[in-house]
Assembly symmetry: C2
Homo-oligomer: 397 residues x 2
Amino acid sequence: MILHSNKIHTPEGTVSGYLTMKDGRILSISEVKPEGEVKEYGDLHVIPGFIDLHVHGFSTGSFWYEKTEDSLNRMAESMIQAGVTTFLGTTGTDAVEVIIESLVEAQSAIKNWTPSRGSRILGVHLEGPFINKEFKGMQREEYCMDPDVMVTKELLHAAGEGNVYLMTLAPELPGAEEVIKHLHEQGIQVSVGHSAADLKDIARLKGFGLGGVTHMYSGMRGFHHRRPGVVGAALYFDDLYCEFAKQTGMTVSHEAFSIAYKVKGKEKIMLCTDCTGLAHVERPFHHYIRKETYIPDGDHVIVKSDGGTEKRINRKNFEEVDGLELSYVESVRNIQREHGFTFEEIITMASVNPAKYIGIYDKVGSLEEGKYGDLLIVEDDFKIQDIYVQGVQHRIK
Amino acid sequence: MILHSNKIHTPEGTVSGYLTMKDGRILSISEVKPEGEVKEYGDLHVIPGFIDLHVHGFSTGSFWYEKTEDSLNRMAESMIQAGVTTFLGTTGTDAVEVIIESLVEAQSAIKNWTPSRGSRILGVHLEGPFINKEFKGMQREEYCMDPDVMVTKELLHAAGEGNVYLMTLAPELPGAEEVIKHLHEQGIQVSVGHSAADLKDIARLKGFGLGGVTHMYSGMRGFHHRRPGVVGAALYFDDLYCEFAKQTGMTVSHEAFSIAYKVKGKEKIMLCTDCTGLAHVERPFHHYIRKETYIPDGDHVIVKSDGGTEKRINRKNFEEVDGLELSYVESVRNIQREHGFTFEEIITMASVNPAKYIGIYDKVGSLEEGKYGDLLIVEDDFKIQDIYVQGVQHRIK
């Protein structure tokens, strides 16, 4: 398959030319027309697919709430519509045996995934259970526990060899050092999150394998000039990455994002959604920022706003649940509008950095020969026109 | 007078050559030897004198506590030992009539100053009384008041035409807009300090004449990612200057300073001391950071540490009171050791920026032809060897 565009965004700059995919990979990017039929995209942009390292659920499925292979498959189908070509199914802080059951399901989903399914179910991000109750956020306090290598081994075993790519934990908790070391030995990235750590805790453990922070600013000890906390550490240490979830200005103000951007630069900021798949809550759940309550009702969910309005929608119908949470691409469009980022800056934060962070940049994250044919065709404002996952085209709904 | 050094620090770089002073000003900086006797400094550095825009008192005198012309004169004599060649006598938040009395004294000190006295008593910095009780710090709550143009005019009148260069106020207080406008019309710089302002207050009033923040991080609404406060505004708005007082790591951690430096760069950070002249307190005063109590005792002061030790020293004897507060040059040496700043970075923060901030960079703040002969001869570690104020040499005690 050969695409032509005047704006193919590669690490070496924007190229006007031909991108050829074969066997799911990028065979070449060339100014010279190769043999064969060409799909013409003119002035539309060709960019690498987005990578979401932190997503519990989205739209028609929720791995966090449903904990099934099927839920991950439905996420894959919905998330591809948002331009996400690779994601990590992200667990929440549940009872260890419950997390283990869900990881067994994930192992199967990862193994059975094919590009025609949609977004690639690459692996798992374990958010917890080794987090600090003091900063639990929407995680459940009764299941927060101190880091434990035996438990860690059980979790990794349940997910299957090489399927856990990232763990979020609170490094100030007893036992954290051993768990961080163990994860690091397995090549698993570790983020600080839901943490009351002081800067000195992070300084002490960083070298053992702390790569960044989960949902920067939220769920962590904030910045004070005599106690810089996790936020201070994230800003102070140049090499730590900062993950931002759905940067709408609501959870984290635009100015706070700008300050982090000034300090970290595009090279150390990663975008993600942290969506949960609100349509799939197990019990009535009030979202204090959205000011809505979600009430499960069989195959449906009732959405009650604090203002009194109410609607009942089908959990698994994409058209009905779409828009319940801001999608990856809409979040990208939002920050582009707000901050005026260039294509290069967005691609760095949405594709390059997440891939580098978990060590998969040799396969995805940029448009280069030999990498997967994971790409998006977008307009100037990032409105998606076409999507390819490992060379397989997906229809935009 | 002609000096020779291999390291004369000018805005165009470091020059090996001859600096000639005449009539209190720099006549020339040249690689060619002028006619006349040359004082040889070899590899010692020649740098512009430090400028302290925020100093209530130091060592043998305290304008804040004593409120007299004589106290400013004693400060001038002591501060020159710390490398400060220009300073603003800084008032505190007292009753308006008391501030007025002290400003009348200041007017006289400013008028009668000569270079042989020591550090130049350039003018006044009014810290308050228009500050927010919520962030009063060591200022006295009963005298905090809402901004008032009539009061402002009385204060400016008492100090004498052109003698007030800077005012610190809380812009969120009612009446602030009018006062800021009035000060701006008079060419007086305005800093945000002792303030509970939100970022949006500062955004709204910045254009009327807010140039920066007083003692960054201290005495102001801190940073939160949904309410960025004064700290957030200082980091967010590129054009705002940040003043740091005696950066020892004690009041503001080294990491917090580093974060501000990453965001603002050397161009927007100013050093000062905010010293008060602790030997001159009017009534027993406990310093919660130094963990010491100062008890006036006639011409002496008793210094009682929280640990129980006690010493009695002569208030006006430089040798006895020296070291009670960290001096400007010792603070500079401290941050150079801690952060490894270059000469250019230190000079920018300690001389160039304070001069630009209050609009006197045409006369001081750098070594250039036509500017005052205010300069320091220092070793690599900023240890002072010689001091000149408007060409007059001062002996190091």
